[in-house]
């Protein structure tokens, strides 16, 4: 490499660094602003000129949430719903995916097509019939109502992804179990599931995220304060007279921790699963 091209490369590199840093401001500044504002007293949120770190740095916005059982309840609700949705989705979707991956049966093509198509049904379209259906089934304002309606959107996705994953595993594995007299369920849970952990984890995380973030059903299918989830709880902090901006920010941070933690812990599975989903789905 000549001196000239080395210099050219350096200039290129600084150019790329400048552009990528400007992009990072666009992407990251709003999140940074949420973070710093969660440590300010509410009166300083719109201080002019704005301060990054307030001299009155305070953890009040966090204590206000932890010390208020009503607000803690939003988090408990969200955890209960999202964890149940994730476990049930995986349990049911694994069996369905197993049938799609390992059996040939009448109607398979049709069911498969319906599942793929159902992913595109707008939630708002289901909203109106749900309202009467959920009331009729006595599921209005209950955990079960939220769990079941969230699963309508997590199941199709999970079945498609897990079928794809199981298809990559050799059939000899479960045939061996059956020769030994084991049932199909033994083959699935004892042999296939343990070696599918990466796929199951990425589907599980995505399922958890869908449920944790769900807004429309949580808004319309629950009524009382003690059944509300975090996304609705944040909205409820917009009072009629004053906005508790600092608390909305601390609640946003706290409400994002599960997803951020899952993302950091399982980044590789997560991105791998998502991108293979985008390529295949």
């Amino acid at each position: 490499m000549t001196v000239g091209s080395a210099r050219k490369r350096r200039i290129h590199k600084s150019g790329v660094l400048i552009v990528i840093s400007l992009g990072a401001i666009f992407a990251g500044f709003p999140v940074f602003w949420m973070f710093v504002n969660s440590f300010k007293p509410n009166s300083e949120i719109f201080a002019f000129p704005p301060k990054i770190i307030s001299p009155n740095f305070t953890l009040d916005a966090y204590f206000e949430i932890f010390n208020n059982p009503e607000k803690v309840r939003f988090f408990i609700n969200s955890y209960i719903v999202a964890i149940c949705v994730t476990l049930l989705t995986l349990l049911i979707a694994l069996q369905t995916a197993y049938a799609f991956s390992r059996y040939r049966f009448r109607g398979k093509g049709l069911v498969n097509m319906v599942i793929i198509t159902l992913q595109s049904v707008p939630p708002i379209t289901l909203m109106i019939p749900y309202f009467s259906l959920v009331v009729t089934l006595k599921l209005y304002n209950t955990y079960q109502g939220l769990i079941l309606t969230h699963m309508v959107f997590t199941l199709p996705y999970a079945v498609i992804m897990l079928t794809g994953y199981l298809n990559t595993l050799p059939r000899e594995l479960d045939e061996a179990v059956k020769i030994d007299g084991g049932s199909a369920l033994t083959a699935l849970w004892r042999i296939l599931v343990p070696i599918s952990i990466p796929g199951i984890v990425s589907v599980g995380i995505y399922t958890f995220m869908i449920s944790w973030n769900e807004f429309l059903f949580a808004l319309t299918l629950t009524k009382t304060q003690e059944m509300r989830t975090v996304p609705i709880g944040i909205q409820l902090l917009m009072g009629q007279h004053s906005y508790e901006w600092n608390q909305m920010m601390s609640m946003s941070i706290l409400g994002s921790i599960p997803v951020l933690a899952l993302f950091l812990l399982f980044q590789r599975y997560f991105l791998g699963g998502l991108t293979s989903g985008a390529v295949k789905a």
């Binding site: 000129p49 704005p50 199941l155 998502l274």
Partner: protein, 307 residues
Amino acid sequence: MLAPAKISKPQNFSTSLIKRKLEPYGFISPTVLLLLLLMVIPVFLVIRYSFMDNVIVNQNPLFVGLENYRTMIADERFIIAVKNTAFFTIVSVIAHLIIGLSFATLLNSELLSKTTRTIYRMIYILPWLFTVAIIAILWRMILNPLGVLNYIIMSLGISQNQTEWLSSESTALLAVTFINIWAGYPFYMISLLAGLQGIPKDLHEAALVDGATGLQKFWNVTLPHLKPLIISMSILDLIWTSQQFALIWMTTGGGPLTSTEMLGTYTYKLAFSQYEFSQASTSAVFLFLISMGLALVYNRTQRAREQ
């Protein structure tokens, strides 16, 4: 363990054959039941509602044919909602694509070290890790007339006004579209980055030998390779963005006046503020048909890719 299998009688064999035939239906039945009850039946119900006079409120609703559809098309607010949804969706999808592709290209640059790229990738993914409710609140704070964006604009001397981004008719639609662009590009970026990394190195080297410039290489090697991915992501994004409700609901609620009214908020208001459930069902069916149309196109492109 092998013994029982060997001495199984023919009779047992036939029952186990039936069992084997029925087994897959057992495995798929929970999924099928749930989707039937909470997806297929509700879709039929909502279509039926759209042909009745006011359901749910009315004990014995009457069949009114296409009456609700006529009312909908004649409703000025509906036309505005369609236009706003079209603007919001198309601008978002194009911007998502451009930003996603640019960021993916930057993150794939060989001029940067692996650590640098990992750190920036982490920052670039951030908007995707926050839920819509949080994104809405966050941007309401930033776009507040007294907020940090107006401070930056004023101190740079671009404008001296405290613009009310979300509550003035001239800027609200642009503002919610911008928020949606910010929230949605990482999905494209991650997928396109994986796509970029899947381009065989020798393709680029061959182009380099042929004396192609960076831009030529991008047009002739990179883009054709990413095309199938770009098409399928754009269709998915069109489906999702046209259905957007939560972001609009929590930032502007469709206002001021009708400036950010979209099909989602229009339908929701008809149902839950005006209790016009049949009329709401009609626009819900309209939105459903758009999504199904797009889903059909999506399935076609996917099948074409598989062949």
